[in-house]
């Protein structure tokens, strides 16, 4: 049987074939690679997100710890920050002594990250007991003060003249704001 196809139908057939080939090519060389990319990228993103979550969790822990520390040691932190004031010191601790004189302080040296001020104090006390109280109170002062040698007690009339040095520790802080909580 002779099978004859008209010209128009032939053209149509070729057109369909052409389109079909284009579709195949497009699918194979554009769509499938892109699909592979899609899957790979999706996975990579997921992996990265998991990683980030780990970091986030760790961050949360550290943050919690930091905040805890900050709240626990608030007084100490503040005390380290406070600048020493002779006036204020006298005002606070005058009560423990009969007389109290403090030589103006001078910045002496650095102690690791801290700056040190040496203060000479001379006072008159009636009994050593007040001195003990003073020492107790000093630990709760606005500053971090270390009483240091040499310490001298000398009887002067009814009072004991005591002279001692104090080391005031001040934080040499590079002003670094605590980071805000990130999520």
């Amino acid at each position: 049987m002779k099978f004859k196809i008209s010209r128009q139908h032939l053209y149509l057939l070729f057109l369909s074939l052409f389109f079909f080939i284009v579709v195949i090519f497009f699918a194979f060389f554009a769509l499938i690679p892109e699909g592979k990319n899609y899957r790979a990228n999706k996975l990579a993103l997921r992996v990265e997100k998991i990683q980030k979550q780990k970091y986030q969790n760790f961050y949360d822990e550290v943050y919690k710890k930091l905040k805890q520390l900050q709240s626990d040691n608030r007084r100490i932190i503040v005390a380290f920050d406070t600048k020493f004031s002779v006036k204020k010191f006298k005002k606070n601790y005058q009560s423990y002594f009969h007389t109290l004189s403090i030589k103006p302080y001078k910045k002496v040296k650095k102690y690791n990250d801290f700056t040190l001020y040496e203060v000479n104090a001379t006072s008159h006390i009636s009994t050593p007991k007040t001195f003990y109280k003073f020492l107790d109170a000093l630990n709760k002062s606005d500053w971090i003060v270390e009483v240091n040698f040499p310490i001298e007690f000398k009887k002067e009339d009814e009072y004991i003249r005591s002279s001692f040095t104090m080391k005031v520790y001040h934080r040499k802080r590079v002003k670094e704001t605590t980071p805000l909580k990130q999520n």
């Binding site: 892109e34 899609y38 970091y55 550290v62 930091l66 932190i77 000093l138 009887k155 990130q182």
Partner: protein, 177 residues
Amino acid sequence: MRYSYIRPREKTIVTSEFKLVTSFFSVTFFMLFTTYGFLLYKNYSFIKNKKEVVYEIIDLNQSIFSMRNEIAFIENEKELATSIFTHNSVLKESIANLFDLVPEQITLSKATLLKNGLILQGITPNRDVYNFMLQAPLRSIFAQTYSSFYPASNGWLFFVSKNYVDSNETLIINKEE
């Protein structure tokens, strides 16, 4: 029309079969292209998001680093403060113990506490009291003790007691058991 009574009909290559083929393939192409476009967009967004996440991780890292520094610093401060407070307390105890150590009979005129030693000046009724009541405990505390006496006007003795600890140690006067 120049010669004919009627006009010829419209001739077009767009037959119904042609339309069918083109519409079928245009639908196919449309779907393919939209899918492709979707994939492109998604890839772009994935990569973008990943970059962002990476930056976030870096940020977090930095924050963690700085927080840890801060923590270290605070702990440093705390340590220092604690040591200072302890030192002050110890000092207080030492001074208290020192004054407790001195018996009633002996009166101190001057006490100088040094880093590595203690110098006491005072007046004692006699040598024995001094030796027994003061010198003995001092000796147990300090490594080196030196005493010198000066007779006083009323028959008592002025004494100067110099006591030193070992070079490596600092002055701490503990309460005797």
